[in-house]
C-alpha cells in the first residue's frame, strides 16, 4: 500500500436572508408560510413595465455584515442582471452584483476547540434578490410560489481556508451568531434564512508527489448538520474516486452535486462544461450607489461588539471557561443580560452559573430568551450576591430564580417568603451539632481514626445537621463547627 496523506480544502458560498421590513426592490413585506403568492406585487412579479427601487435598509444591513466581516467597503457599487431561465425567477434574470460588489477582501475569526480561533478569508459579500419557489406536485405540472421572490439576499464567498468539516460548521455557526447579533437576519435555518454551498477538494500526497482532486460544489444545504455531513461524505468520496480513477483537478471536471438528506450522500448534478452563461450586464433600471464616508460612519455606528470578541473577553476578563463564554455569547441578548448583571455588582462566575444553569433552562422551557423572562439584570445580580454571601444556598437560588420568574418579586423577599435563608448563627448551630455528635458516637469515632473512613463520616455528620435544620444551615459554617469540635 502506497503511503498516502491528504488535506481537506473547503471554501463556502453562503446566502443569508436579511430581515428588512420590505423586499429588496419593492414594497412587499417579507414572507414565511403565508398563502402562496399572497405577498407579491407587479414589481416582484416582474410584470411588463415595472421597475425596481432599491431598499436602502437592505443595503445598510448588508454593509453592516460586510463591516463585521472586516471587508473593504466599496465607495461605488452597482447592480447587474444575471440571466437564466427558470420558473421561480419571474423576469428570467436576477438582479445581483457582479464586478463591483459592495464589499470584498475581509476575514472572519471562527472559534475552534479549546478557546483557539482561526482566521478565514472572505473574498466578497454582495447583495441580490432571492427567487421564488417551485412547488412540485404529483401531477404532471409544477406550481410557482413567488412570496419569497425579491427577498434581500446577502451572498458571502469565503476563501478555501477551511480544512475540516468541523471548521466548516464552526464558520457557519459563527456567521449565524454574527448576523443575529447585528439584528440583520433571524438566521433561522428551518425558514431557509441561511443556505450553504461548500466547494470541496483534497490535496493528496502520495509517494512524495502532490495531487489535487477535482472540486465538487454541493448545492443548497440548509442545516449545519447537512453541511458538516456533506463535507465529510465528499472527503471520503473523493478519496475513493482518486484511488479508483486517479483523476485530478487538471484531468477531471469541477462538478456540482446535490445533497440527499435521507441517505446522507451527495449525487452528481452537472459537470462544469454544462455550466450556464449568465450574460451579466449592468442593470439599467437602477442607479449605481455611492457610499459616502458619512453614510458609512453612520452605518458603522450600528455595529456592536462581535460575539467572538465577547467570548474571548469573558475568558480573560471574567475568568469564565471557554465553554461557558460560548454559551453566554450564543445570543446577543443573553450576553448583554449577563454583562448588565455583572455591571450591577454580580460576581461573574456566579451570575454565569445562574444564567447558564437555571435562566437558560427556564427560557428554553418557555420558548423565549433569557431577557424575556421579566427579570431585571439588577435582580439577577442581587440573587448572585445573596448566594455569594451565604444567605441562601446555590440550590435554594434555583428555587428563588424560578419564583422570581413566576412572581416577579425580588430575590431577598422570596428567600424570606420561601424560608430559604441559611442558618449561619454559630451559637444556634453549635447546639444542633452537639446533639448530632451525641447521637452518632460511631461516626465521631470514625472521624477521629482518620483516613478514608474519616471523610465519609464527616460528610455523614454534616448531612445529619443539614437534615435537622431542614437544609437551612449554611454548610460552610456547620463544617467549621464540626472541625472545631472534632479537631
Amino acid at each position: 500500500m502506497a503511503e498516502l496523506d491528504y488535506k481537506v480544502v473547503v471554501g463556502l458560498e453562503i446566502h443569508v436572508h436579511l430581515c428588512t421590513k420590505t423586499k429588496m426592490f419593492c414594497g412587499c413585506a417579507l414572507s414565511f408560510g403565508e398563502e402562496a403568492n399572497s405577498r407579491v406585487c407587479p414589481v416582484c412579479l416582474g410584470m411588463p413595465g415595472v421597475l425596481p427601487v432599491m431598499n436602502k435598509q437592505a443595503l445598510e444591513y448588508a454593509i453592516m455584515v460586510a463591516m463585521a466581516l472586516n471587508c473593504e467597503i466599496a465607495e461605488f457599487t452597482k447592480w447587474d442582471r444575471k440571466s437564466y431561465y427558470y420558473p421561480d425567477l419571474p423576469k428570467n434574470y436576477q438582479i445581483s452584483q457582479y464586478d463591483l460588489p459592495l464589499s470584498a477582501n475581509g476575514f472572519i475569526e471562527i472559534p475552534l476547540e479549546g478557546g483557539k480561533t482561526k482566521r478565514i478569508g472572505i473574498i466578497r459579500a454582495h447583495l441580490e434578490e432571492d427567487a421564488g419557489k417551485n412547488v412540485h406536485s404529483e401531477a404532471n405540472f409544477s406550481q410557482v410560489d413567488l412570496n419569497r421572490a425579491g427577498t434581500p439576499l446577502l451572498e458571502i464567498v469565503t476563501c478555501p481556508d477551511m480544512n475540516s468539516a468541523s471548521e466548516v460548521r464552526a464558520l457557519a455557526v459563527e456567521l449565524q451568531r454574527i448576523v443575529r447579533y447585528l439584528g440583520v437576519s433571524e438566521g433561522d435555518m428551518q425558514k431557509g434564512h441561511m443556505r450553504f454551498e461548500p466547494n470541496i477538494n483534497l490535496i493528496i500526497t502520495k509517494n512524495g508527489a502532490e495531487y489535487k482532486t477535482p472540486i465538487a460544489e454541493v448545492k443548497n444545504l440548509n442545516s449545519f448538520r447537512a453541511l458538516e455531513r456533506s463535507v465529510e461524505y465528499e472527503v471520503q468520496r473523493q478519496l475513493d474516486e482518486f484511488a479508483e480513477t486517479g483523476k485530478t483537478i487538471e484531468t477531471g471536471n469541477k462538478t456540482t452535486r446535490g445533497w440527499v438528506d435521507e441517505r446522507e450522500v451527495t449525487v452528481l448534478q452537472r459537470k462544469k462544461e454544462e455550466a450556464p452563461d449568465y450574460r451579466y450586464f449592468p442593470e439599467p433600471d437602477l442607479v449605481p450607489v455611492k457610499l459616502t464616508k458619512e453614510w458609512l460612519a453612520e452605518i458603522r455606528g450600528h455595529l456592536c461588539e462581535l460575539p467572538i470578541n465577547k467570548q474571548i473577553r469573558y475568558v480573560t476578563e471574567y475568568k469564565l471557561s471557554d465553554y461557558d463564554a460560548g454559551v453566554l455569547t450564543a445570543e446577543r441578548f443573553t450576553a448583554e443580560f449577563f454583562e448588565q448583571s455583572v455591571a450591577a455588582g454580580g460576581e461573574p462566575k456566579r451570575v454565569c452559573n445562574l444564567l447558564t444553569q437555571t435562566g437558560l433552562k427556564i427560557a428554553k422551557e418557555r420558548g423565549c430568551g433569557v431577557c424575556d423572562l421579566g427579570i431585571k439584570a439588577e435582580s439577577l445580580s442581587e440573587l448572585s450576591k445573596i448566594v455569594e454571601s451565604g444567605t441562601v444556598s446555590s440550590s435554594a437560588a434555583v428555587s428563588i430564580f424560578e419564583a422570581m420568574v413566576e412572581t416577579g418579586k425580588e430575590p431577598d423577599i422570596l428567600a424570606e417568603e420561601l424560608n430559604l435563608i441559611q442558618k449561619s448563627d454559630a451559637g444556634e448551630l453549635e447546639l444542633i451539632v452537639e446533639h448530632v455528635l451525641a447521637d452518632n458516637a460511631k461516626a465521631v469515632k470514625d472521624v477521629k481514626i482518620g483516613g478514608k473512613k474519616s471523610k465519609k463520616a464527616h460528610g455523614f455528620l454534616l448531612g445529619q445537621v443539614m437534615q435537622k435544620t431542614r437544609g437551612q444551615a449554611n454548610p460552610k459554617v456547620v463544617s467549621e463547627i464540626l472541625d472545631k469540635k472534632l479537631g
Binding site: P42, G46, M47, P48, G49, V50, L51, P52, V53, M54, R81, S83, Y85, P87, P90, K91, N92, Y93, D277, R279, Y280, F281, P284, D285, L286, V287
Partner: protein
C-alpha cells in the same frame, strides 16, 4: 363643425372646454366619428375605449359646469402608445405574445394624463415592442401614413403619429428609444419630442432598451408639446432613473414659450448631414435659414463619433432588449404554446410562436453581444462609444445652444420597401439615435415637404434638461412658418 372642432389644438380645445364654449363630449364624439370614418384606412389604433372616454368627457363637462377645478388637459381626447400599461383594456406592445395581456396598473405617464383630466380614447399601433422604424413590425395590424396610404407612418410610434396627423386624437404619447417619436412625427408632419432621459418616468412603459427608452408627446403644435410635457414630466419614486427635482427641477415649458431667444447659436454638422436625400437636405437648409434671418448664428461643428452611433446603439439596445424580453416565455408572461413536448419546449415554442421576426433578430443579436467571450468586444466597446458621443455633444453645447439636423435621411418610404433589408431599415435611424445614446432632449418640428408632398421634420437637439429652451427654439420657427397648419387629405 366636426372639422372645426377636430382642427383645434389641445390648448384651444382645453380653453374652449374650460370656458364652457365647447363640450368635451362633443370633442370626444367627434374623435370617435373620425375614427369610425378613417381608422379602417389608417389603422392607427390597436384598441379604443369609446364608452369609457365619453363617460370621462361627461364627467369633465359636469365638473366644469359646476365650477370645480379641473386638470391641465381637462376634456382633451388623447391616445397612448400601446407600450404603456393601462389598468383598462390590453397592453399588447403590438405583439402576438402579449395580445391578451391585461396590466393591473397604470404607467405613471398614463396616471398623470388621467390626473390632468385628459380623456384617453385608445391605444396606438407600433412596431412590436417598439422595434422598428416603420410600424410594419407590428404583430397585430398595419398602420399607413395619412399623407400617402402606400407609405409607412414611420416607427415605432407610427400609430400615435398617424392618429395625431389624421385628427383621430388631439395628441398622443409615444416612446422613443432610437428615434421612435421623432421619426414618425417627421414622416407624418407632426411635432414629436423625446425628453431628456430621466425627465419622464418610465414606470409602466414596457421596456425595450431601458437605458435609452423615454416617453414623450406627439402633437400638432409646439405649444401642445410643451403642455403635454408639463403634465407628464417629473420625478417618480417608482423609477430610480427619473431625475429628482433637486438635480433638475421641472420647469414650466409653456409659460415662456413665446419669449424670444437673444443671440441663439445653432450648431450644424455638415459632413453628417450629407447622407440625407437632397430633397431633405434642401428643406432643412431652408429651415435653418429662417433662424439665420431672425439673427441666429449658425456654427459648423465636427462630431467625429456620430458615425459610430448606429453600431453602438444596436449593441446596447439589443443587449438590454434580450434581457427585458426574457420574461415573455409562456411560463411567466405571454402566449403559451398549445402542446409542448417537454419543459424546454414551453419556453422555446412559446417564444418562437409569439415573437415576430424583427424581435427575434434583436433578441439573438443582444444575447450574442452579452455572451461570455463577446461582452468586452461588443457591449463594453459600445458603452465606450456611447461615452465618446456624450463627449461630442458636451463639447458642442459648450459654445452652442442647440444642434439642428434632419430627423431622417428620407421622407416616408413605401410599405414593404425596406422590410426585407433590416440594415437599410436600421440606417434610417442615423440622425435620431445619438440623442438617445447621449440622453439629451430632441424635437422634430414640421418644416416642409419634398417633391412628393411628403412631410419633412427639422430636428433640434439640446443639452440635457434643456427642454424649456428647446421648445422655445422650436416655437420661434413654428411662429414664422405655416407648415404645422398643413393637414393630410385622407381618402377612404
Amino acid at each position: 363643425m366636426q372639422d372645426e372642432l377636430l382642427n383645434m389644438d389641445c390648448r384651444q380645445l382645453r380653453d374652449g372646454i374650460a370656458s364652457g364654449r365647447v363640450k368635451s363630449v362633443a370633442a370626444t364624439e367627434a374623435v370617435f366619428k373620425a375614427i369610425e370614418k378613417y381608422e379602417g384606412a389608417i389603422g392607427a389604433y390597436i384598441s379604443t375605449f369609446k364608452k369609457q372616454a365619453i363617460s370621462k368627457a361627461e364627467e369633465i363637462d359636469k365638473k366644469i359646469a359646476s365650477g370645480e377645478t379641473v386638470g391641465e388637459l381637462a376634456g382633451v381626447p388623447v391616445a397612448v402608445k400601446d407600450i404603456m400599461c393601462t389598468s383598462f383594456g390590453t397592453t399588447t406592445c403590438a405583439s402576438k405574445i402579449l395580445e391578451s395581456f391585461h396590466a393591473p396598473y397604470n404607467a405613471t405617464a398614463v396616471e398623470k394624463l388621467a390626473a390632468a383630466d385628459a380623456v384617453i380614447v385608445g391605444k396606438t399601433n407600433m412596431d412590436e415592442f417598439a422595434m422598428g422604424s416603420s410600424t410594419e413590425n407590428s404583430g397585430l395590424k398595419q398602420t399607413v401614413n395619412p399623407w400617402d396610404k402606400s407609405r409607412v407612418p414611420g416607427g415605432s410610434s407610427g400609430g400615435s403619429a398617424a392618429a395625431v396627423a389624421g385628427r383621430l386624437c388631439y395628441a398622443a404619447l409615444g416612446s422613443d428609444t432610437g428615434g421612435s417619436i421623432r421619426q414618425p412625427a417627421s414622416f407624418c408632419g407632426v411635432v414629436g419630442l423625446k425628453p431628456t432621459y430621466g425627465r419622464v418616468s418610465r414606470f409602466g412603459l414596457v421596456a425595450f432598451g431601458s437605458s435609452l427608452d423615454q416617453i414623450g408627446p406627439l402633437t400638432r403644435t409646439v405649444g401642445d408639446c410643451a403642455l403635454l410635457l408639463n403634465v407628464i414630466a417629473g420625478h417618480d419614486p417608482a423609477d430610480s432613473t427619473s431625475i429628482d427635482e433637486k438635480t433638475a427641477p421641472v420647469c414650466d415649458c409653456l409659460g415662456k414659450l413665446d419669449e424670444p431667444i437673444e443671440g441663439l447659436k445653432i450648431a450644424v454638422v455638415p459632413e453628417f448631414n450629407a447622407g440625407a436625400e437632397s430633397g431633405v437636405q434642401k428643406v432643412i437648409a431652408k429651415a435653418i435659414d429662417v433662424y439665420k434671418r431672425l439673427g441666429a448664428e449658425v456654427i459648423e461643428v465636427d462630431m467625429p463619433h456620430l458615425d459610430y452611433a448606429i453600431a453602438a446603439y444596436y449593441v446596447i439596445a439589443t443587449a438590454e432588449a434580450s434581457s427585458n424580453l426574457a420574461r415573455y416565455d409562456g411560463v411567466h408572461y405571454g402566449h403559451r404554446t398549445e402542446e409542448p413536448a417537454d419543459y424546454i419546449e414551453v419556453y422555446s415554442k412559446s417564444r418562437a410562436e409569439g415573437f415576430g421576426k424583427e424581435v427575434k433578430r434583436r433578441i439573438m443579436l443582444g444575447t450574442y453581444a452579452l455572451s461570455s467571450g463577446y461582452y468586452d468586444a461588443y457591449y463594453l466597446k459600445a458603452l465606450k462609444v456611447r461615452n465618446l458621443i456624450r463627449g461630442d455633444f458636451a463639447k458642442v453645447f459648450e459654445r452652442c445652444d442647440c444642434i439642428m439636423m434632419p430627423v431622417a435621411p428620407t421622407t416616408a418610404f413605401k410599405i414593404g420597401e425596406k422590410i426585407d433589408d433590416p440594415l437599410a431599415m436600421y440606417l434610417s435611424d442615423v440622425y435620431t439615435i445619438a440623442a438617445n445614446l447621449a440622453g439629451i432632449p430632441a424635437i422634430s418640428v414640421p418644416c416642409g415637404f419634398d417633391e412628393k408632398k411628403l412631410p419633412i421634420g427639422l430636428q433640434i437637439l439640446a443639452p440635457a434638461f434643456g427642454e424649456e429652451k428647446l421648445l422655445r427654439t422650436a416655437r420661434i420657427y413654428e411662429r414664422e412658418t405655416d407648415w404645422h397648419k398643413e393637414k393630410p387629405r385622407i381618402s377612404n
